[in-house]
Subunit: 146 residues, 2 copies
DNA sequence: ATAAGTGCAAACTGTTTGCAGCCAG
DNA sequence: CTGGCTGCAAACAGTTTGCACTTAT
């Protein structure tokens, strides 16, 4: 694990401690997997990776810890719609959106966000103040497009 | 049913006929429910409404017909990102998105779409071909902002 | 010590599928 | 008439929950 990843783990683990959560081996290992992953992971994928270190870890524990992190605001759920369920990504990185492959369910980060001053003002004319947003992009990835 | 809704039903039904699908009572009634609905419906909600006319219609039939309409391109699946499953909206109206008030749940159509040639090309560089998309906007409406 | 966290199994939800009968074309 | 459509039941995948045991604090 790189120094930058170790730091990321510590940040998340400290947030857990602050809120009174206990740091178990499984919980810390789950955070490490999320920090080290290049892309959002599904609960099942996290489970597969955790089992290398914790051979008896259960999928339930993965789900429970994912919920804890989501409640904490440290993790955002990304819905892949269809193939495989929700994927999770830590949010200490910069703001961006994702595209999901409608065939295989893989996701990629897209460094683009539609929310600009123009959209904000359009919404204002409708009487709305924007609180949060999510751009869902669905496509076919290079691999599935053959 | 208003004249405009009747017209909407006919448009969708004709697309089904063109592709060789048969027009059963259940199928037509399902289209009518979608046309008449102000907002996207879940499979379960459609089923509830269909059962008023077709008391023995099965939920499977709802799903099967939803798939047919999605394959046809007449219906887009919208993931509510909450605990509920997928919602469906007919696409014979002009393309737009919605903003949802996080306090009262009211929605408004927003005549804005982030998908432009620039975004398409950004996605191409990621190896993705865009199939469909959905912009989810959450805000506080004029009424709730006091 | 003690309450949060865990593994197991079983329940639950939303969706899909195999089959025999039905009905639109 | 006949293949697509249907209802039924059962399977299915992803997720959640009740329980007794374990472990971090």
């Amino acid at each position: 694990m790189t120094a930058i990843n170790a730091a990321g783990t510590i940040i998340v683990v400290n947030r857990l401690k602050e809120k009174g959560y206990r740091i178990t081996g499984q919980r810390q290992a789950l955070v490490e997997q999320l920090v080290e992953s290049e892309e959002p992971l599904s609960a099942f994928e996290i489970w597969e990776r955790l089992r290398i270190q914790y051979k008896d870890v259960s999928l339930d524990t993965v789900y429970r810890n994912l919920h804890v992190l989501v409640d904490l605001g440290a993790l955002i759920p990304i819905n892949a719609m269809g193939k495989e369920g929700v994927r999770y990504e830590l949010v200490y990185t910069s703001h961006h959106h994702h595209i999901v492959c409608v065939k295989c369910g893989q996701t990629q980060c897209i460094d683009y966000c539609p929310v600009d001053p123009h959209l904000i003002s359009v919404l204002k004319t409708h009487g709305y103040e924007l609180v949060r947003h999510n751009l869902q992009l669905f496509g076919v990835c290079r691999h599935c497009n053959c």
